[in-house]
């Protein structure tokens, strides 16, 4: 069915106009103040070895409401050297945006007697409902698999925390099935090389957020990687929520089931009746 593809590909048209111009330059005063604060508070940085990541995002929240067809989140920032000099040019930037986690059951269909039915299943304790990773160079070239696993760099390394004791091979099959499913729903993404790194200082990346995202708290983490080691990181919170009528509908359906059902029925009856009347006149 051709219409199947219409839902996930719907985003991209409605990015808010305000988000585009949000790359604010950092005034020298602000930088100095920031460095001063960091130098005072952090002994590690006082030695002047590790750079600092300053991060920003185009939006603090994403509102799910009429007309929302997905959006783009712009994450940007700068890599600062504590000594005030330009950071070395071989840094890499990795950005990981994660949605609220949830416990799920994952079911696998199998062909039994010619028919595809749900057969095996496995449980996961905390699966991110959304995951997007972007990096300035392919992740496999930046870090080794162990580091990638620690920081969840890439679709292969998302921590899904499976429960129960299934053999590792089966576990891997389930996990890759889940990642593949979510990837095609636009909920899991990996963009190698999508982060723009200018002069080894300013970075920016746009992450697409599809319309089928789950409301909740999202975390955007940014990592600076040098010679296979994460040397600085910083994170920002982002809230995805419903607002107005959409929030009211979602709440009422949960809290006021009776009135909600009654309203749905009345609406249905009224529209059916009104159409009949209208056409009788015409």
């Amino acid at each position: 069915m051709g219409i199947l593809g219409a839902v996930p590909s719907a985003f991209g048209s409605g990015a808010p106009a305000g988000g585009r111009s949000a790359l604010r330059p950092f005034g020298p005063l602000a930088v100095v103040a920031l460095l001063f604060a960091v130098l005072l508070t952090s002994p590690a940085h006082a030695q002047g070895r590790d750079p600092i990541l300053v991060v920003g995002a185009s939006q603090k929240d994403i509102v799910l409401r009429q007309g929302f067809t997905g959006t783009e989140l712009l994450l940007y920032g700068a890599l600062l050297d504590p000594r005030g000099r330009r950071a070395a040019e071989d840094y890499d930037i990795v950005v990981v945006l994660k949605g609220p986690t949830e416990p799920i059951t994952l079911r696998e269909k199998e062909q039994i007697a010619g028919i595809w039915v749900n057969a095996a299943s496995t449980d996961y304790r905390s699966v991110p409902s959304f995951y997007a990773m972007a990096s300035s160079s392919p992740v496999s070239e930046i870090v080794d698999p162990r580091t990638a696993a620690i920081y969840e760099f890439g679709l292969d390394y998302i921590q899904l925390s499976p429960t129960g004791t299934i053999d590792p091979e089966e576990q891997a099959r389930f996990s890759s099935g889940l990642v593949d499913l979510r990837q095609r729903q636009g909920l899991y993404n990996q963009f190698d090389g999508a982060v723009d790194l200018e002069e080894g200082v300013l970075y920016s990346v746009r992450l697409p957020i599809p319309s089928n995202v789950r409301p909740g708290e999202y975390t955007a983490e940014t990592f600076a990687v040098l010679k296979g080691r994460v040397i600085a990181s910083n994170s920002r919170e982002l809230v995805v929520h419903k607002e107005g009528v959409e929030l009211a509908i979602a709440n009422q359906s949960q809290d006021n089931s009776f009135l909600y059902g009654l309203f749905a029925i009345s609406m249905s009856l009224f529209m059916g009746w009104a159409a009949g009347r209208l056409f009788a006149i015409v």
């Binding site: 219409a6 007309g67 059951t105 595809w116 089928n212 089931s257 909600y260 059902g261 749905a264 529209m271």
Partner: protein, 304 residues
């Protein structure tokens, strides 16, 4: 026109949904079926979660049948006696269906069962209707070979106790028969988001032997009440009724139903029945095919 559905949690093309409603509305106007058997699978193909599709389609069918019921009431085309018995049976059916729904959901077989039910029901009924429609068309072409006298109703129905006279339908049967029919339809409405008209109409005609004059009206009457009930049960148990989705479907279907009624008045009934039979069979075949090929999604996620 992009519309965000607050319960389904995704955004859809509103115009497409309205057109879908319009198509099923035309069907419901012509044949007296709710059109849920078309809406639910198409919504699922489109990417709406199955539970939300079934629940919201049930809500939409209420609106699609209401003006039909009024119309048939004016023409004395509703047998309220049998209608009431069937609604009572349907009430029990909806509750049984709700229980079955959560049970099947728990063991992870709800979508397979729904698909199998579609294939079995639509396949059987489509086949029966197709045979009937072709048989009706044949004598017109090959002269006047009259068929053997038809029996009033199925012998098993006649064997049921407590027989009653239903004057409007012109039958003398036990109320258990329409009650049981209502029960089955209630279960199916809950599980599949269908009004059940596509199986009620033939069952009333060929099993109960009701007079054709009241069959469509009584079926619509039953659909109206059963879908209202099912909307309520879904609101309480699955919380899956999306009123934005139902509203969009309604806009299309209530207008479609009006056109459908007009088509029904001018078109040949045998041809219409043949068309309905073809649609029903086509959907059954499509779903049967879908069960045997490797599905697009081998994995599915259920929140714990």
């Amino acid at each position: 026109m992009d519309v965000y559905l607050p319960i389904a949690n995704l955004s859809v093309n509103g115009l497409f949904i309205v057109m879908l409603g319009f198509g099923t509305g035309i069907l419901s106007g012509i044949f007296g079926v709710g059109g849920g058997f078309l809406t639910t699978p198409l919504l699922i193909f489109y990417g709406i979660p199955p539970t939300v599709a079934a629940a919201s389609a049930a809500t939409q069918v209420t609106g699609a049948s209401v003006s039909g019921v009024f119309g048939h009431m004016r023409n004395k085309g509703v047998d309220f006696q049998i209608g009431a018995v069937m609604v009572a049976g349907g009430l029990c059916g909806a509750l049984v269906g709700a229980g079955l729904f959560s049970l099947l959901q728990a063991i992870g077989q709800i979508d397979v069962v729904i698909n199998l039910l579609y294939v079995l029901l639509l396949g059987t009924i489509g086949w029966l209707m197709m045979r009937e429609a072709l048989a009706e068309l044949k004598p017109a072409r090959f002269g006047t070979k009259k068929r053997a006298a038809k029996r009033r109703h199925h012998p098993m129905i006649a064997a049921l106790p407590y027989r009653m006279r239903f004057y409007a339908s012109g039958i003398y049967v036990s109320p258990l028969a329409p009650g049981l029919l209502g029960l089955i339809v209630g279960i199916l409405t809950m599980l599949m988001g269908v009004g059940g008209g596509f199986m009620m109409v033939p069952a009333m005609l060929y099993i109960l032997g009701m007079s054709a004059r009241v069959v469509v009206g009584t079926s619509l009457f039953n659909i109206l009440f059963i879908t209202m009930l099912v909307t309520m049960v879904h609101s309480f148990t699955t919380h899956a009724v999306d009123i934005v989705l139902a509203g969009l479907l309604l806009v299309g279907s209530v207008t479609g139903a009006q056109y459908g009624t007009r088509i029904a008045q001018v078109a040949k009934p045998e041809i219409l029945r043949l068309i309905l039979a073809s649609i029903v069979l086509a959907i059954a075949l499509r779903m049967a095919f879908g069960l045997t090929i490797r599905p697009d999604e081998v994995y599915s996620v259920v929140p714990l």
